[in-house]
């Protein structure tokens, strides 16, 4: 995982799947970096699982604007199954 910080804006590029391990790494980062906005580049992730979906949803609920970029196609399938596709439209960058 690579990241850059610009004031309270955290930019992350994952070089793995977006799973529980990646979620925990980001959460650890958030403990030490005051953050109001997160952008996560998923162009190298094959999978985004339910732990990652939960993380994105909860961070946005907490008020930390979390946006994902270049997600794999499987994410849309997972969101459809979990009936969250409408809610997630605003969390995925065009």
């Amino acid at each position: 995982m690579e990241y850059t910080k610009d004031e309270k804006h955290l930019k992350i590029k994952l070089n793995s799947d977006f799973n529980i391990v990646a979620v925990r790494k980001i959460e650890n980062l958030l403990k030490v970096e005051e953050t109001e906005e997160i952008d996560i580049d998923l162009s190298e992730s094959k999978i985004v699982d339910s732990e990652a979906i939960k993380f994105i949803y909860l961070k946005n609920k907490e008020g930390i604007r979390t946006t994902i970029h270049h997600p794999p196609e499987i994410l849309y399938e997972a969101l459809r199954i979990l009936e969250l596709q409408d809610i997630f439209k605003k969390f995925i960058a065009e």
């Binding site: 094959k46 732990e51 979906i53 939960k54 199954i81 009936e83």
Partner: protein
């Protein structure tokens, strides 16, 4: 290609296992999209095991990746904390109102794979089974109906040869030409599936061609995976070429091949919609040993009444090795019929008395499920104290998952068979027959339970022995139908 991984319960193993699942899926023939779905399902399951079954404590679990002819089956076995998936149902309302994602992983797994089964094995832990079907092109996607309907011209002579993977397409076309869409073994309409099976060497088959090289006959032996026997089946002869001795030529060749390969016996699962296959089997010395009721889903057979019910088969067996005397445990309930079945096979049996039977600490039952045919076979390896309870739990789980027929194989050389048969009957199982040399070269008593209505009027049998077995089975069915329905 089948593989078992023994893994430590550790978050770090999630991605390697997910990657392995993806690659396994691709190698098995899944598209990238379908392999990714399989990988995500495994990611969810392994994550749940590490987080909840072992709660970040030390522990180990196993994942087996098995490739069948047309599907990938992944079995996960773990000994973590008890768990009931029915108590963890996902609900999007709970997400919105309470930020509660409980059950999201299970919801994903159920929707990303073709079958997902959870089995609570009591002290033996928990087992999860994931099945992902592999999609191949159907023969009608490769050739037009008209192309396949052209009947090969009359021949001056015929040539029989052993089938090679190159014959797969011709076999599929032949099946389509003769049976249309009514052949019950669906895989025969997929040349790629046939080719794979032939490459694996699990099937010995012969093909008959005219002097112009056109395929007009095909017949195969499918090797059993856990015993040195084989099933004769998939017999087909082109209409215009019947009555020329092609079937006889093929059967003789197959029996020779079976002997050459060291098989101890051959069996046929002959449908009971008509008695044609049973007559052919009888002609070559096969003896009926069992009647399996509702063995595969309903299929229409041109010109025959099927009663819109699941199709039943008789087991016809041909020993290829001499078996004269046998000492086995015969349950009192089935003493007469079992003795007759063995006598009909030319085997004298002696009923062993139970003298010092002690139940094992653990019940071990191997479960073979065919979701495609809606049936499961439970093979008993050892009888433990909890045997009946374990069987009951398995049957309930299978029924809930849409399985329509459950068969249980009991080793006749184990005293437990004599002891537990009555309790299985009380549970709702009924007699099916003897399965000779069916597992590890040993004989098994098979009992059965079917969850759909069966009218025995549509079950046609040929031999005297088959009639006797049918009478026994139908009587017991009448007696136990309500129990089967209420389990």
């Amino acid at each position: 290609m089948d593989t078992t991984l023994k893994l430590k319960s550790d978050l770090r193993i999630i991605e390697p296992v997910t990657d392995f699942s993806y690659k396994f899926g691709l190698n098995a023939g899944l598209t990238k999209e379908e392999a990714t779905k399989l990988a995500l399902a495994i990611d969810e399951l392994v994550t749940d095991i590490v987080l909840f079954a072992y709660k970040n404590e030390k522990g180990e679990f196993e994942i087996s990746f098995n490739l069948t002819d047309d599907s990938i089956e992944i079995i996960v076995h773990e000994l973590g904390e008890p768990f009931d998936p029915n108590k963890h149902k996902y609900d999007v309302k709970k997400v919105i109102e309470k930020n509660d994602f409980e059950g999201a992983g299970l919801r994903l797994i159920e929707n990303l794979v073709d079958n997902f089964l959870f089995i609570n094995k009591g002290a033996g832990g928990k087992e999860f089974r994931i099945v992902k079907n592999i999609k191949f092109p159907h023969i009608t996607e490769l050739f037009t109906h008209e192309e396949m309907q052209v009947e090969p011209a009359k021949a001056v002579s015929y040539t029989l040869s052993r089938v090679t993977p190159k014959d797969a397409e011709d076999i599929s076309k032949l099946i389509y030409r003769v049976y249309g869409y009514t052949y019950p073994k669906e895989e025969m309409y997929y040349p790629e599936k046939i080719r794979r099976i032939l490459e694996k060497g699990e099937k010995y088959a012969v093909i008959v061609r005219t002097d112009k090289g056109e395929a007009v006959g095909y017949f195969a032996i499918i090797r059993s995976t856990d015993s040195k026997i084989g099933e004769v089946g998939e017999a087909v002869v082109s209409r215009e070429h019947r009555g020329k001795g092609i079937m006889t030529m093929m059967m003789k060749a197959l029996i020779d091949i079976a002997k050459e390969k060291g098989l101890l016996g051959l069996f046929g699962e002959a449908v009971t919609v008509h008695t044609v296959s049973q007559r052919v089997n009888a002609k070559y010395g096969f003896k009926t040993t069992a009647l399996l009721v509702g063995f595969f889903p309903h299929v229409e057979y041109k010109g025959f009444e099927t009663g819109q019910q699941r199709i039943s088969v008789v087991i016809d067996f041909l020993p290829l090795t001499e078996r004269n005397d046998l000492e086995i445990y015969i349950p009192k309930r089935y003493k007469k019929i079992i003795k007759e079945i063995y006598k009909n096979m030319g085997i004298n049996i002696k009923d062993k008395r139970v003298t010092d039977f002690t139940v094992k600490e653990k019940t071990i039952i191997q479960m073979n499920i065919s979701f495609k045919y809606g049936q499961a076979v439970l093979v008993v390896k050892s009888f433990g104290n909890d045997f009946i309870h374990r069987v009951q739990e398995k049957v309930k789980t299978l029924k809930k998952k849409g399985i329509k027929a459950v068969y249980i194989d009991l080793p006749v050389e184990n005293a437990g068979t004599k002891i537990f048969t009555d309790q299985l009957f009380d549970l709702g199982f009924v007699f099916a027959g003897i399965m000779p040399l069916f597992h590890h070269q040993k004989d098994y008593l098979r009992m059965q339970m079917v969850f759909e209505d069966i009218n025995f009027k549509y079950i046609n049998v040929y031999s005297d022995m088959a009639h006797k077995i049918k009478n026994k089975v139908s009587r017991e069915f009448k007696w136990n139908t309500q129990k089967m329905k209420s389990i």
